[in-house]
């Protein structure tokens, strides 16, 4: 600690921005970089309740904190604030910046977050994988990586990993191209299935595990993407058609939940009681020219890409009989010229967290996208202003105690998504989020991949990469049996809920 210093009028310029954030008591050390053009050394003093932590940095300004001391500091400071004093050694002596603070919440966050690491904005794919980060440390391990070396016969993509409500005991993800199929992991064993039927558009895409039954709701989407030429956003990902499916894991049976021609249904999400399925839907008939053939739908929608909008819907489900009821409009975003995607119900069942943007459903490329919630007790909807940014704020996942959520945002460089953690208090207010800490904070800048589809989980994935590799490479995948659900809805008018037909 410098004994002599002069007071600066400003706060320290630090990266990442950890000022005034709320952090979980089990988070890894929030290492940061201090930027000062002339300083040659730095000291940071963190003062919590009855605990103090000192850390230093040389010219590079990277403040790395001792893990044990950090843990002690957070444990002692639960429910309180920690103040951070930063000192910089300039040629004319030490400078003390104005201190800043962060708060330590009482509630911990689920310890693990899984994500894909992929380059942003591409059609081709090469090396990618699903990784799991322990948020209480800096450990990152691959859950599954595709082939590192190019091989025409082996190249494949993996996506849409998902767990049953934060429990990795039930897990799934998709493999596309070579070795394609959906990988289901249960009881430590992986098996591959093929969700294919002449009535199914493609295969399972966006999944949601049922909280109590061994069921998964999938969307099935015919998706395409196009690249802008002169636009602030770079990519538009659009569905040409999409429906909802219900997959019975135990019986390996699949059926439609909703199968429509004029509506695009996507992003299913179960409520924690398993009695309601939330999803998004867009009524595209008015956007299409009736005289043109179906094969032109993509091109037609592409021309009107900023007019495709989705509402938030829900449909009741009776787990015992596996029957669906009548869809209900939850949020009519179309009426306000907005569009909703990725609904996620909080584990306590009170809030639906979703992304709202100006149009479309692939909000990960829409700068207008912000995080919103619907309070299911009061039916009120509001933006999570503290968590949002002018750039993309999208794909999100709840911690199992409903007090935290992790989401991806392009706010740092407008291109590469990074994961942010936000505290969500009991009143339903989100607090200023922070980027997940890295041992070397500069890694957030240097990493040339995006974090994609973050999923929080209470426990670590236990199945080994070798077992997954074996399942993917050595099995063809069992075809799921298509068994129509008598309560499935066909040709539903997604805007009005009219013209419902049963299968």
């Amino acid at each position: 600690m410098p004994s002599q210093f002069i007071e600066a009028n400003a706060e320290a310029d630090i990266y990442p921005d950890y000022k005034d954030v709320v952090v979980p008591p089990n988070i890894a050390a929030l290492n940061f970089i201090v930027h000062d053009s002339t300083a040659t050394a730095y000291v940071a003093q963190l003062k919590g309740k009855e605990q103090e932590l000192l850390a230093g940095a040389s010219e590079d300004g990277v403040i790395r904190m001792d893990t044990t001391e950090w843990r002690a500091l957070l444990t002692a400071s639960k429910g309180n604030e920690v103040s951070v004093d930063v000192y910089a050694k300039r040629p004319d002596g030490w400078v003390h910046f104005k201190p800043y603070k962060f708060s330590v919440a009482e509630e911990p966050i689920d310890a693990f977050v899984s994500y894909r690491l992929i380059e942003p904005g591409y059609e081709l794919y090469r090396q990618l994988g699903i990784y799991q980060r322990n948020l209480t440390t800096f450990d990152e391990v691959p859950i599954y990586e595709n082939n590192r070396q190019y091989n025409d016969g082996e190249n494949h993509c993996v996506n849409c990993h998902n767990y049953r409500w934060g429990d990795t005991g039930s897990m799934l993800f998709h493999v596309r191209s070579n070795h394609g199929g959906t990988i289901i992991v249960q009881d430590g064993k992986a098996h591959k299935i093929q969700l294919k039927d002449s009535t199914i558009l493609t295969s399972g895409v966006y999944p949601s595990w049922h909280p109590t039954e061994n069921l998964v709701a999938f969307s099935t989407n015919k998706t395409g993407q196009a690249f802008h030429l002169f636009y602030p956003e770079k990519i538009e990902v659009m569905d040409e058609r999409s429906d909802l499916l219900l997959y019975d894991v135990s019986k390996n049976e699949v059926s439609h939940i909703i199968r429509t021609h004029d509506d695009l249904e996507t992003f299913p999400c179960w409520a924690p009681d398993g009695k309601t399925l939330y999803y998004c839907t867009s009524y595209i008939k008015p956007l299409l020219e009736p005289s043109l053939p179906d094969s032109t739908v993509t091109q037609q929608l592409l021309i009107k890409f900023d007019s495709v909008r989705y509402n938030l819907m829900s449909i009741p489900f009776e787990p015992k009989t596996r029957s669906f009821g009548k869809p209900k409009m939850e949020v009519n975003a179309v009426a306000e010229n907005k569009s909703i995607s990725v609904p996620r119900v909080s584990p306590d069942g009170r809030f639906v967290l979703y992304t709202k943007g100006d149009y479309g459903q692939f909000h990960i490329w829409h700068k207008s996208s912000d995080l919103w919630v619907k309070d299911l007790q009061t039916d009120s909807c509001y933006a999570l202003t503290e968590a949002n940014s002018p750039d993309v704020d999208s794909f999100h996942s709840w911690s199992s105690n409903s007090r935290w959520f992790v989401f991806s945002s392009r706010r740092m460089d407008h291109n590469y998504t990074r994961l942010f953690v936000a505290y969500f208090d009991k009143q339903g207010k989100a607090h200023k989020p922070f980027v997940i800490p890295q041992e070397d904070p500069e890694w957030n800048i240097l990493l040339l991949k995006s974090y994609n589809v973050p999923e929080l989980s209470r426990n670590a994935v236990s199945i080994s990469m070798q077992d997954l590799h074996r399942c993917i490479y050595e099995t063809e995948g069992e075809n799921a049996t298509y068994k129509p659900n008598p309560t499935a809805i066909v040709n539903l008018d997604g805007m009005t809920g009219a013209s419902i037909k049963r299968n």
Binding site: H228, F230, H414, L446
Partner: protein
Amino acid sequence: MQKKPAKQPHRAAPQKGTPQQKQKSSVGTFQLLIAKIPVLAIFFALAWLWAGWYYGSVFHVSREYSFWSSDARLMTFILSQPYGILRYIGRAMLQLYQYPWIGGLLMALMLTAGSWLTGYCMRLKGSWQAIQYVPALLYVAIVTWLGLDIFFEARTGFIFGIPFAALVVLCIWAIIICSFKPRKRENGKKGIQLAVIVVVLAAIIGFDQWKRPYVRVICQLLDMEYRQDWVGIQKLARANSTMSNRPMACSYAISLVQTDQIAERMYDIRLDYDSLYIHGIDWFHNNASVLYVPEGNYYGGFLESAQHACMEQMVMTGPTIRLLKLQTKCALMRGEWELAEKYLAVLHRVPFEGAFIKKYEPMVRRNDLIEADREMALIRLTEPIHDSFENQYQQPLFMGYNLLLVEGRSKQALINSLCVCLYTKLMPQFVERLEPLVGTTPPSIIMDGIMLAENKNAGLMQHFTGLNYRQPQLQAFLQATQQYMSDRPGYAYELFPKYKGYYPYYYFFGNLKATKKGYTSLSSSSSGVN
């Protein structure tokens, strides 16, 4: 007088002697001279010349198509590959090729050391000692054979990696020999060694000139493109005007756009596109678009598409210096400051990129500096006005978009569009876009295009000035080439030197699918823009 005979024996001393003896003596002197030749030093000098001068540009561009950082995290994509360490070391060494003579020096040292060690380890004697140069010469031959493949799609780690690995093996071998059976190295027959070196190197360079002449030219052009040496590109392309390939055509077109000559000098080079020996990451023959599409889009004003093209390549091969630099420039022009800073932060970790960083880092958050940059200011003039999607156009985009251009932000954008229409020989589209030039004297290529379009658009010419003086030239051309019209692909190559630079030649004889260097068959009449 009598003393003379007595002196004969003395005169007949072995040094001077009879003709046979003289011959023997001169052979001996020659052998003595040969024996004194520092063959290894000569090999080193020749290797340095080859690696620093002759092939220096190829290795220099290989470095641009590579990426290396001491930060192992950034190199995971290479380290996790088979032979990752070797490729990592190879890429590190390749960095020296920022300065080809220095990179060449390292390469020559490695090849020379490898040769010496080969001789030492294999205990080569006499004539057999020439074998010690075989591995190094074989390496040179393989590199020459591979041509563009040595750097295409992330194989750059092997350029130095393989000789390095060989050197390590030889060093270990030599140490073992030294430890257990030390011996003095013997001098072999240097004449044979020298002959082998000279003959094999000459053969390799002969092969390169015969089968891969475009490799050095393309690399020199790319290097000049990175240095924005537009005049150099034009000189080199015109000096090799009969050589024809797309990377060269694109570099040349970029240089013309940057010097406002695209509508004057585009057809100074052949545009028939001979096949290149180049293979993708899948080892299948590749169309080499990777070499020019990102830059073509960037210089055409399609910044997002340039970013897209860069990203696709980064996905497939990992980052490269060339892609990171282009991404930086695109991000700066799009005002994506944090993104530019990100790429610059990565480039900060690459050796010898100080000059680029020094030039572009100050442009972050400084639109005035970007507008003051000549290259960027010119690109700004051809950016699209309205948004649309890439997949609405033919590829490559910098061609496809200009074919459909309906509104441009500058005269340059219009000229580019007209030139693309002429290049693709789509005269209706060309005529549709002439309106803004009515009443003016268009650039020469556009004038020729107007005259050719006059056939189907009677009266078109009268809307422009300055065309009359070019009309006799067109008439003369049409008359002179009448006899060749029945087999245009067949005569294209033969007629090129005579009509080089003249658009009507290109219109009738250039860029026909069947046109090939030396093609003479009359049987093929298929034609169309390739």
